[in-house]
Symmetry: C2
């Protein structure tokens, strides 16, 4: 089964309990809206790719871990879009959850997705129970305090912050959880896979900062120009657009070099190159160069 299908199937299964008899219909619909249709699903793709590279032996567990990681990503988007944060009207080209369902259901949908992520971890570790504690730790650290996604969003509320720490918490931490948990789902040590996830997270964050400046809402599927509008730290603001582009290219190379030696290394590097091209296509690089020449 292609990875895309595995991920969608795992996500549907992870939300199946929320549709069982007795559920409040609007919250169930808000959760579905937050998760389907998805974006690039890059984090669960990574989990699957790393698990395979580590000799995957329990597909049900890998799928559960991949779904948990993506549910937590979706939860963070739903809360990040709330009026008190980004007040984003759109996400993935559709109304954001708070626009479609109201603020209360958006808060609750995020909460319910976090709970569903941990529930699916508990449900899919039956055959390899000994892997559950380390998976819980890895996933918790990717999203919780002191260094996960919530910490990253909380740095936006502090008067002073380090751009690197902020980006590591807001993006790097869940990418690291995605790679490490992929290894752990296959019974391997997660630690050698941390650097790959962190580099990839940095790469992704810099790309996101460039795209926020360069692309319009139709391509982004969400409002553009938000970093300046919300006075939010950004690589493009700190380094300038040309500097951010150079940083992006440097990070792509660093990411490729952090793939541990393993049978699946070349497939992983292929995924990384493909994702880099998707995030910052050639024409965008050319546009930035042209803008720099004009300046």
């Amino acid at each position: 089964m292609p990875n895309e299908d595995r991920i969608e199937r795992a996500l549907r299964a992870s939300l199946a309990p929320s549709l069982q008899p007795g559920h409040p219909p609007k919250l169930a619909a808000a959760m579905q809206h937050a998760v389907f249709p998805g974006g690039a699903r890059i984090r669960p793709q990574l989990t699957l790719a790393v698990a395979r590279a580590c000799g995957e032996d329990d597909a049900q567990l890998t799928d559960g871990v991949a779904a948990a990681i993506e549910l937590l990503h979706c939860a963070s988007l739903v809360h990040d879009d709330l009026p008190c944060f980004d007040a984003a009207e759109t996400r993935r080209g559709r109304p954001s959850v708070h626009r479609a369902f109201g603020e209360r259901l958006a808060v609750l949908a995020g909460d319910a997705l976090i709970v569903a992520a941990f529930e699916v971890l508990g449900r899919t570790t039956r055959r390899h129970l000994s892997r559950l504690p380390v998976l819980l730790r890895t996933v918790s650290q990717g999203v919780g305090m002191p260094l996960g996604i919530v910490a990253g969003q909380a740095w936006e509320c502090e008067p002073q912050l380090s751009l690197a720490d902020y980006q590591q918490a807001k993006t790097g931490a869940l990418f690291a959880a995605a790679t490490m948990a992929g290894a752990q789902a296959a019974g391997a040590d997660g630690e050698p896979w941390r650097a790959l996830g962190e580099r990839l997270g940095q790469t992704y964050q810099v790309a996101d900062d460039i795209r926020d400046v360069m692309l319009d809402a139709q391509v982004l599927g969400k409002p553009g120009g938000q970093d300046v509008a919300r006075d939010r730290p950004s690589s493009a603001r700190a380094l300038g657009l040309e500097g951010a582009m150079a940083e992006f290219q440097r990070l792509v190379q660093a990411t490729l070099l952090s793939v541990p030696v393993c049978p699946g290394a070349s497939q992983l590097r292929q995924i990384i190159r493909h994702e880099a091209d998707r995030l910052v296509p050639q024409r965008l690089t050319a546009q930035v160069a042209a803008l720099a020449a004009l300046a």
Copy 2:
């Protein structure tokens, strides 16, 4: 060690990771504000009492489970107090988290407390790993979809609801998780303890509805009269004050009868009677009777 001290110590330990180097200080402070000083800690008290009644053999695990249940309760209060829900200015006699730290940090503190609850479950099951999956399920079902706390809050967003289903989800589900997880932490079957938790949750909810009408903000530690102000379903509104009081007395008796036969049964019944007196003191019962005589 008295149960009160055990619970406070377990809660401090469960939040220790959030204070490790690199944490954003305001979010860490908001989490502490949400958890300390606490209310009656009735849910973790129940967990401890049931674990003891079931022959507790792993105090570290019981403490972790009790802390997880209380963290999830605190998280639900923080999100319930948000401007888009109850817009409560006070909680436990102090500013609510969103009043003290702002709305963004209140959303994030709730999220971080949910994650911390699952993290502590994973961390404290080392000696009895086989109990972890069922504990994860019980705790998830107490707070998640389709029948846990988030579902209860979501019913407030539906045009039609059943008062019983709403109260069961909003309050009963976490009380049931508290009793069942107490048994499971001791290696016992949780199912025989479900009815006790559910009855106690119903009792507590009816008491809360009565208190919302009868007590002022100073005694409640939070604004009173909210059910009418927010057009929220309530036993006092559905049954009248006298009817709600009769229902409360009926539920206390039903709760006492649902304590399973076990060595700790009499201690458990004592806790229940004590809690019932704390929630609806004699003078409140007398006041309601006096009001009814006037009508």
